[in-house]
C-alpha cells in the first residue's frame, strides 16, 4: 500500500535549475548514468550542441573522463544515483591525488520513503562514503534549495580544485510509484 505524503507537491522546476546552473558555470561536459531524477537535465544536455553529453556504463568512468576534460582545459559534471557512489570509491583517489574540480550531482535512493529496501544500504552510506574519500557534500530536500546549493558546490569545486557533491534528497524527488 502506497501512502502519499500530505501536502507534498514536489516542483519540477528544480530539475530545470540543475541544467541552468551547470550552464551558468560553463560546464562543457555532462557525463551520466541515468536516473529518473536527472531525466530533465539529461534531456536538455543531450539536446544542447554547446556541450558534450556522455552516457557511461558505470559511474567511475565519469571521474576519469572529467579528469581528462580538465587536463584539456574544460569543465564538466557527473550526474548519477546514490548507488553509483559505491562504484566510484576507489577511483576518487584520482581526484585526491591530482586535485582537479570534480562536480557531482547525486539523486538519492534509500533515503526517504524507499519501497525497495535493497537501496537502503548504499543510500544510507552515500554521504559518509563521499566524505571519507574527501568529497565535500551538500544536500537539498526542498526545491528552492537546489539552485543555490548547486551554485555553491560548483563555485567551491572550480575555485578550489575540489571534489564537491550535491545530494538531491529522495523527498525532493518524490516517491517512486511502484504500483499504479
Amino acid at each position: 500500500m502506497t501512502i502519499a505524503e500530505p501536502e507534498l507537491h514536489p516542483g519540477l522546476d528544480w530539475q530545470d535549475d540543475v541544467y541552468r546552473v551547470l550552464k551558468e558555470h560553463d560546464i562543457k561536459h555532462v557525463v551520466y548514468v541515468p536516473d529518473a531524477g536527472h531525466a530533465t537535465a539529461i534531456r536538455l544536455a543531450e539536446a544542447d550542441n554547446a556541450l558534450k553529453s556522455v552516457v557511461l556504463t558505470t559511474e567511475e568512468e565519469g571521474i576519469g573522463y572529467l579528469a581528462g576534460a580538465w587536463l584539456g582545459g574544460q569543465r564538466g559534471a557527473l550526474l548519477m544515483q546514490s548507488s553509483g557512489v559505491g562504484n566510484c570509491i576507489n577511483t576518487l583517489a584520482l581526484q585526491v591525488c591530482t586535485r582537479f574540480p570534480l562536480l557531482m550531482v547525486i539523486t538519492m535512493r534509500g533515503d526517504w520513503a524507499e519501497f525497495n529496501g535493497w537501496q537502503n544500504p548504499m543510500g544510507q552510506a552515500t554521504e559518509k562514503a563521499l566524505n571519507l574519500m574527501g568529497v565535500m557534500t551538500w544536500r537539498a530536500d526542498d526545491p528552492k534549495d537546489v539552485a543555490p546549493l548547486l551554485h555553491g558546490a560548483a563555485t567551491t569545486a572550480f575555485n578550489g580544485d575540489a571534489a564537491c557533491a550535491l545530494l538531491l534528497g529522495q523527498r525532493l524527488i518524490g516517491e517512486k510509484q511502484w504500483v499504479k
Binding site: K28, H29, K52, V54, V55, L56, T57, T58, E60, E61, G62, I63, G64, Y65, L66, A67, G68, A69, W70, L71, G72, G73, Q74, G76, N90, T91, A93, L94, C97, T98, R99, F100, P101, F158, N159, G160, D161
Partner: protein, 198 residues
Amino acid sequence: MGEVIKGGALDRRAVVSRLLADRGDLLVVTGLGSASYDVMAAGDHDGNYYLWAAMGSAAMVGLGLATAQPDRSVLVVTGDGEMLMGFGALATIALCKPANLTIAVLDNGHFGETGMQESHAGRGIDLDRVAATCGFDWTAEITDMAGVENLRRRMHARDGLKLATLKIKAENPPRVLPPRDGVYVKNRFRAALGHAPI
C-alpha cells in the same frame, strides 16, 4: 576464439619507444603499472599524464582529453589488465568515437605488476576484437615492429577511433618511475596546453 596467444614476442620498451618517436604535439595518458614505466623510459614529457591509481581509468581520461582537445592526437598507453578493469569504457568510448583517440594496449597476457598471474587476455579475450565489436573505426593485433610503425603513423592522422593490442613478452624490465606528484604532473600538462593553475 581460435588459438590463444598469451602475450607475444615484442619488447615492450622498444614498442613504446617507437610509438613515441617523433611525437610532435601528441598527448599521452598512461595506465598505472608497467605502461607508465615504459612511457617514462622513452623520456619524460610535459604532454604525458601518468596514472598511479584509479585502475581502469586510463582510457576514460583519454576520452575526456580527446573530446576537450579535438585538434590534438591523444594516445592512451596501458596494459591488458588495466584495460580489462575498464572494460565497459570501450563501449562508452565507441559511442563517442573521437577521431583523435588511439588506445594502445600492451598485452602480455598477464598481470605483470602483481606476480605475473595469467590475465583474461592471456586466457583468450582479444581486446582488439572487443573494440571492433563495439564499433571502433580501426583495430589491430600487432605482433611485429612493422605493425608498431603502422600504428604510429595512423595515430597522428586523427582519422578515426583506434585500438591496437600489442603482443609483448611477459617480462618486467627495470622500473623507470615517473613523477608521483599528481598535482605537479597535472599542472605541468595543463600549462603545456596554455592553461594556468587556478
